[in-house]
Structures are given as structure tokens and as C-alpha cells.
């Protein structure tokens, strides 16, 4: 159809086409300039149209056209219809010389011949240029060349335009993200952040609305926190996992595209009143942990979400997830801060925080009520100047200075605003925040009453001990007479042969001796408890001391027909201790053993023991007597606690011997222990340091 005379005009048309395409802004203009440029009398084409292939449907959709056929824009040619499909499938130019003879002839278009040229971008056929003539056999080789050249020009221009658009969109996305992140970092309140995120996402995707929900692990529910133009305010809506679009993604942890929400079987009744058409939702994840869900909606039925939309939504999902996570952490931190604030405010202990210069940063109500100051009178003031006088300041400043480095504790006296004094227990601790020293915290516990009670108790205890000591002393004088005269009378009675009275005098004498033993023990105990019992340390031979004790105790031990055994494997040598107290302890133990053993054996053993701290001397007194139950052993070393009252009545004794023994042991830095089984006897073990340090006297 191109005659020789048309060569110049054909060249001109091609040049005009190239220039128009190059000048085109955007895809639409490119399509238009292709069809306009080729619509030239010199070329003689009756119809020109550019179709693009829609990825989802495979439909060819008309983008631009010109010619005698009035074609509606966005006209769809479905797969299986028309002649242009083949060019798209194999990427080659196809010529149909007589369309009426072609099996897939599209009857509404021209009835002559047709050329279909594929338009390719990045090696992929994205559309087709359809050129028709009303005459059959209207196209020749030269036409094919021109059309191919036009298609190539269009492809290049399209490629460039798409690249540009892509870059521009990425720039927009980036800007939106930056903006979102800026909001996120400046605004930590979760709902505001999420509102900002969804607003950005909606704007960038060009959809009508959307919403974001957080996942609440405790209830296994989603709660909508931000809602943007979805047809109602969904904020606060609770959505169960598995319910609706967001519930579904919360369950599957995969995004979902719902083309027609109202036809979707999974829809939630909570959203039945909204008018959205299609919905896209994605889970919000931190790693694999669900923190929420995001959904965007569109009310235009024309807009169907595709992979590209999903890609964009996926860009926002991590941002929203991080926002939720950060805000969650922030909220938790806020809650914790609030919790501690409540604790401090409601604490009955006065708490004050200071800066490096010892000035008050903050003080709790207990501090203000303890010292009688109002809040405005404390903040910024030097603590020690506030609650001490010049005389007592040095000690207070020492505490404060030390507390900047390490915890300090003590008891002191501080001044109230009205000048009165208060006894306080003081605790000072340095305050570190992330390794940085921020000053210190001081705590004051009012112990006025406590100290008063203690002083009273101490005074009462001391008075009691003094009373006991005096009483004991005063009781001894008449007792001396009772014991002495009864003993003397007994001697006289025996000499005079009045044996019938002797037994009674013996009873008076024995009772007097028992009373004396009681008084002595009470005196000892009261002295110990009054802190007036002293140690008189001397160095002595353990063996001699022990032999002396055994001589003293022998009559007592043998009274109940008991065998007396002394076991000394190696000579323990000398010890430095209070010999009188060691003797008294051993005599107490032997006296006990003798009392509760009949026709048995009582063994005293001694050994040198190097275990533990320093050398120890270990004394063991073992009997084969009555023995004790664990319950009886529990109270054994307490004052006035013979195993049973009946025992005391039968066996005598003061019940104080073991209590004194244990206290003496403790005074000398040792201990006494017992092992026993009912019916099998008992072993008392006294362990004492071999060399007692007089300066480091232990408290009883």
C-alpha cells in the first residue's frame, strides 16, 4: 500500500513519531503518540490501537486508539478473542492478510487485513500494537519495518517511563517511611503511632482506608487501636484470632487478599455494616512472634488488590510491628516507673534522692512528714544542712559522702523543722543509671519508739539481773547458817549417839545444798545475761585439769554404781582458757550423766582437733543412761527446761546447768552439742578453741 511517491512522507511520519514518543510524559502519552504518529495518510492505516496485557486476567486492555472504528478506552479483549493474542504469545509480528478468513476474527473491528506487533519491555511482552486496514492484503514488507520500528520506539520509551515511575514511587515510599519513623521516634504513644502508620499506608497505596490492631497475648485477641476511613470508627474492637480478615492473618501468619469482602465467607459480623469492596491484610510480626495485624480496604469495586499492593503493605508491616513492640516496651517501662513511683510515694519510710552536691532532688511524703517540711522547702536544699545542726553535721555529711560510692547504714539522730530530734535508722545507696552515677538515695526509718522500747527493755533486763544478783547474795547469808548449823548439829548428834535425828538433819542439809546450787546457777546466768560475767584466761594443762575434775566428780558418778572411764589417747597439752568455767562445764555434764545413769558407764574423752579455724580441744562426756527423744533435746540448753517436770522431781538438779554450760562455751568461742537416743544414752560434746583470744571475746 505504500507507493514510491510516499517515501518522503513516510520518512517524515516516522521522524514525527519518534519525536512525539520521546517528548511523551508517562505511559498514556506514549501510547497516544504511537497511534497518532502512525495515523498518517501517507501510510494509509485505517485503525491503530495499543493494548496492554493485564497480568491477573490475561485480558488485552485498550490504552489508546485512533481510526474509523470508535473503540472505547479500557476496552477489554479476553483471552481467546481477537487476532492479536498470537503476537503476545510468541513475541513476533503477525500479519493476517484477510481477517474474514481468520478463525479468531474479531468481528467488531475492520474487515480487511491486520498486523499485530508485540510491545516488549525488559524482554517481556507487555502489550500489542494493532494496525488494521479496511482492505485485504493491504500490508507489505515496508509497512512491517515501519511498525516494528514504531513498536521498538514505544518499548524503549515505555521502559524508560516505567523506570522513572518506579524510582519516583520508591522515593515516595522512602519519604513516607522516613516520615513514619520520625513520627514513631518522636511520638511514643502507641495509638498515635499506629494512626500515623495506617494513614501513611493508606496514602501510599492509594486506597480508601485501613486499620491496625495489636495482639493481646493474655486474651488471644486482636484489639483495633487505629482506624483510618473504613466507614466507621473501629477503634477498640476486639477480634478473636481466626475471625475476619485480620483474625485470619493472625492465625495463618500469612497475608491475605480478599477481592470482594461481602462475598467472602470469612467476614466478621463486626464489619458487616461497612461498605468496603476489597480487603488486604497482613500479620505484624517480630521475628515469628505475632504482635498485631494491619488491613487496608478499598471501596471502589474496580480496584482489586494485587501483588504490588501486597509488596507495599509488606513494607509497612515491619514498621508497624516495630512501633507496637517499641511502644509496648515503652508502656511496660512507663507502667514499671509508675509502679515504683507509687511504691516510693506510699512508702512509710522517708525516701530522699540527692544530686552530687547533696542537694535534694526529690523526697517522698513520708520524708516531709517525718521532718516536718513542705515539699517546696526541701527540693534544691542541701540535705544535711536541712536535717542536722552544726554540731551533728560532720557525722551526717560522712554518711552522705560515703553513700555516693557504696551503700551505708547506720543509726543517728536528725533534726525536724521544729527543732525536735528524731532517732532514725539511715540507709544510703548510690544511684546508678546505665552505669552513670546520678547521686544517691537516702532512707530514714523513724526508730524513736523502737529505741525507746529497747532502752526500756535493756533497763528492765539490767534491773532484773541486778535484782537477781543482789537476791542471790542476800540469800546466801542465811543459807550459810542453815547449811553450816545443820552440818554442825549432825556432827554433834552423831557424837552424842542420837542417830534418830541424824536423818532429818541430813534432809535439812541436803535441801540447803540444793538451794545453794540453785542460787549459784541463777547468779551465774543473771551475770551472763547482764553481760557482767567475765573470762579469766590462763594457760593450764588439760590433763591435770581433767584429772582434778574427775576426782571431784568421782563420788557423784559412782553413787549410782556407774563405771568411770577416762579416755586420753594423746596428751592434748595445754590450753589457754577460763579454767574455772571449763571445770564447771565438765562438772555440769558429769553431774547430769551421773544423775540419769544407773549401773552403766560414764566416759570422759578429750582430744586435740585441728579441723576448722585453729586448734580446738574437744571434750566428750558419754553415758549409757536414759537418753532423750529429739523433742527433749530441742529444749535441752534453755534455762529451766529439764526434759520433763517429773524428771526434775525425780532426779533433782536446777535445770540451769546445761544453759550455763552452753553460755560459757559461747563466751569462749566454742559450742556444745548433744547426740542421744532414748534408752541408749547420750553424748555431750564440748568444743573449745585451744587458745582463746582475750580481746575477741564472744558474746554468750
Amino acid at each position: 500500500m505504500i507507493g514510491n511517491g510516499h517515501v518522503a512522507r513516510r520518512q517524515a511520519a516516522l521522524l514525527r513519531l519518534t519525536t512525539a514518543i520521546a517528548a511523551a510524559k508517562g505511559e498514556q502519552e506514549i501510547y497516544q503518540s504511537v497511534v497518532d504518529g502512525l495515523h498518517d495518510e501517507a501510510l494509509g492505516y485505517n485503525f491503530l490501537g495499543v493494548f496492554l496485557v493485564e497480568a491477573e486476567t490475561g485480558d488485552r486492555v485498550l490504552q489508546a486508539s485512533i481510526g474509523w472504528q470508535e473503540a472505547p478506552t479500557e476496552m477489554h479483549v479476553h483471552p481467546g478473542e481477537g487476532l492479536s493474542e498470537q503476537a503476545i504469545r510468541d513475541g513476533e509480528l503477525h500479519y493476517t492478510a484477510d481477517v474474514t478468513k481468520a478463525p479468531r476474527y474479531y468481528a467488531s473491528l475492520a474487515s480487511g487485513s491486520e498486523v499485530d506487533v508485540p510491545i516488549r519491555v525488559d524482554g517481556k511482552t507487555i502489550g500489542v500494537l494493532v494496525v488494521e486496514s479496511s482492505e485485504p492484503n493491504a500490508f507489505g514488507e515496508e509497512d512491517f519495518e515501519i511498525l516494528k520500528a514504531a513498536a521498538t520506539q514505544a518499548s524503549i520509551a515505555l521502559g524508560r517511563a516505567r523506570l522513572l515511575a518506579e524510582e519516583r514511587r520508591r522515593a515516595d515510599e522512602f519519604e513516607a517511611l522516613i516520615e513514619t519513623m520520625a513520627i514513631m521516634s518522636s511520638e511514643l504513644e502507641l495509638t498515635k503511632v499506629l494512626q500515623a502508620v495506617i494513614a501513611r499506608a493508606v496514602a501510599l497505596l492509594g486506597v480508601s482506608g485501613g486499620e491496625v490492631a495489636i495482639f493481646e497475648e493474655s486474651t488471644n485477641e486482636l484489639v483495633v487501636l487505629a482506624s483510618e476511613n473504613i466507614g466507621k470508627d473501629s477503634t477498640g474492637t476486639h477480634i478473636a484470632v481466626g475471625e475476619g480478615a485480620m483474625g485470619t492473618v493472625a492465625e495463618t501468619l500469612e497475608p491475605i487478599i480478599i477481592p470482594s469482602y461481602h462475598e467472602w465467607l470469612g467476614q466478621s459480623p463486626k464489619y458487616s455494616d461497612i461498605t468496603v469492596h476489597s480487603v488486604m491484610a497482613a500479620p505484624l510480626l517480630i521475628g515469628k512472634r505475632l504482635v498485631g495485624a494491619i488491613a487496608i480496604v478499598h471501596s471502589n469495586p474496580e480496584r482489586i488488590f494485587n501483588e504490588e499492593d501486597l509488596r507495599l503493605l509488606k513494607l509497612f508491616a515491619p514498621q508497624a510491628a516495630i512501633a507496637i513492640e517499641n511502644a509496648g516496651l515503652y508502656t511496660a517501662a512507663q507502667r514499671q516507673k509508675q509502679y515504683f513511683q507509687e511504691v516510693v510515694v506510699n512508702s512509710p519510710v522517708a525516701i530522699v534522692t540527692l544530686d552530687h552536691e547533696h542537694n535534694i532532688v526529690d523526697a517522698n511524703p513520708a520524708f516531709h512528714s517525718l521532718f516536718g517540711y513542705a515539699e517546696e522547702e526541701t527540693v534544691g536544699r542541701n540535705l544535711d544542712e536541712l536535717i542536722t545542726t552544726e554540731k551533728s553535721r560532720t557525722e551526717a555529711v560522712q554518711y552522705t559522702t560515703q553513700a555516693l560510692d557504696r551503700p551505708v547504714r547506720g543509726i543517728g539522730r536528725r533534726r525536724r523543722k521544729d527543732g525536735s530530734w528524731v532517732d532514725v535508722e539511715i540507709l544510703g545507696v548510690p544511684v546508678f543509671v546505665e552505669g552513670q552515677r546520678h547521686g544517691l538515695m537516702g532512707m530514714y526509718h523513724d526508730i524513736t519508739e523502737l529505741l525507746e522500747t529497747r532502752r526500756e527493755a535493756e533497763a528492765a533486763n539490767s534491773a532484773k539481773s541486778q535484782f537477781l544478783a543482789n537476791m542471790s547474795h542476800e540469800l546466801r547469808t542465811p543459807l550459810n547458817a542453815i547449811i553450816g548449823y545443820s552440818e554442825m548439829l549432825q556432827e554433834e548428834v552423831e557424837e552424842l549417839g542420837h542417830d534418830e535425828i541424824s536423818g532429818d538433819l541430813e534432809k535439812v542439809h541436803t535441801a540447803g545444798r540444793h538451794l545453794l546450787a540453785l542460787i549459784n546457777d541463777i547468779l551465774d546466768l543473771s551475770k551472763i545475761e547482764a553481760g557482767k560475767m567475765e573470762l579469766h584466761l590462763e594457760t593450764f594443762s588439760v590433763r591435770s585439769m581433767l584429772e582434778n575434775v574427775i576426782d571431784t566428780a568421782r563420788p557423784l558418778v559412782e553413787k549410782n554404781r556407774n563405771a568411770f572411764v577416762l579416755e586420753i589417747l594423746d596428751d592434748p597439752g595445754e590450753m589457754h582458757a577460763d579454767i574455772t568455767k571449763v571445770r564447771q562445764m565438765l562438772l555440769n555434764l558429769l553431774s547430769n550423766a551421773s544423775k540419769f545413769t544407773e549401773d552403766g558407764t560414764i566416759t570422759v574423752a578429750v582430744e586435740n582437733d585441728g579441723r576448722g579455724q585453729g586448734q580446738s580441744i574437744v571434750f566428750r562426756v558419754t553415758d549409757t543412761g536414759l537418753g532423750m527423744t529429739p523433742e527433749q533435746m530441742d529444749k535441752l540448753f534453755e534455762a529451766f527446761s529439764q526434759a520433763e517436770t517429773s524428771t526434775s522431781a525425780k532426779y533433782g538438779g536446777t535445770g540451769l546447768g546445761l544453759a550455763i554450760t552452753r553460755r560459757f562455751c559461747h563466751m569462749m568461742g566454742g559450742d556444745v552439742q548433744v547426740e542421744s537416743k532414748p534408752g541408749e544414752g547420750s553424748t555431750f560434746t564440748v568444743r573449745l578453741p585451744q587458745h582463746i583470744d582475750g580481746n575477741a571475746q564472744a558474746q554468750p
Partner: protein, 123 residues
């Protein structure tokens, strides 16, 4: 027979102890306080002194120290008697110059053996 000076302020104790000692054959002289005790110990020719420690005016420890300071009585055997069953009393008495020590109420046999031991050592 040995002559013993008993320095004791309590009348009952004095009576009781002196009678028991006399029954054992000792010759017993009595002093009622520290001052009296010092005077009698220096004037009489005693073989031994039984000295109560808690005495009015001059106590037993001071009396003992004064007796030890005098040449006539510096070697006179003295047994301290005390109602304080306290550890330390023994050391305190020995420090003051007593030769022995016993606690009240008197365990008569024990006291006798102490008296005999000192008299025999002296002899």
C-alpha cells in the same frame, strides 16, 4: 594446838565456824572487821588466818595486803573466804596475798583439808 584467827563480820557464821573449829581442837580467836583483824593478827601469835573478804570499813583484800606489808605477818598463812562464787574472786584473793581460797557456805571438810595443808607446809 594451832591458833587460828577468824575474821568475819557475820555473827552467825562467826559463831558456827568457830565452834566447829574448836571442836576439832583448834584455838580460835575472833575479829569482827578488817581493822580489828589487822590489829589482832599483828598482836597475837597466830598460825593461820581465815579472812572473810566482804568486810565493813577495810575489806578482806585490803586487810590481807596490809598484813603482807608488815614483816611480822608477811608469811602468815591466810585463807580467803568469800560469798561470791564468782570466777575471778580466787585470782583476786591470791593476788592480794592470800595463800588459799574457799567459798561460803563453808564445806567444812574441804576447808579443814586446806587448813591442814597450809599448817603442815608451814611446819
Amino acid at each position: 594446838m594451832a591458833k587460828i584467827l577468824l575474821v568475819e563480820d557475820n555473827e552467825m557464821n562467826r559463831d558456827m565456824l568457830s565452834r566447829r573449829l574448836e571442836r576439832r581442837g583448834y584455838e580460835v580467836a575472833l575479829a569482827v572487821d578488817g581493822k580489828d583483824g589487822i590489829e589482832k593478827a599483828q598482836s597475837g601469835n597466830f598460825d593461820l588466818v581465815l579472812m572473810d573478804m566482804s568486810l565493813p570499813e577495810i575489806d578482806g583484800w585490803e586487810a590481807t595486803r596490809q598484813l603482807r606489808a608488815q614483816p611480822a605477818t608477811e608469811k602468815l598463812p591466810i585463807i580467803a573466804l568469800t560469798a561470791h562464787a564468782m570466777a575471778g574472786d580466787r585470782e583476786k584473793a591470791l593476788e592480794a596475798g592470800c595463800d588459799d581460797y574457799d567459798t561460803k557456805p563453808i564445806e567444812f571438810k574441804r576447808l579443814l583439808s586446806k587448813i591442814e595443808a597450809l599448817l603442815n607446809a608451814d611446819a
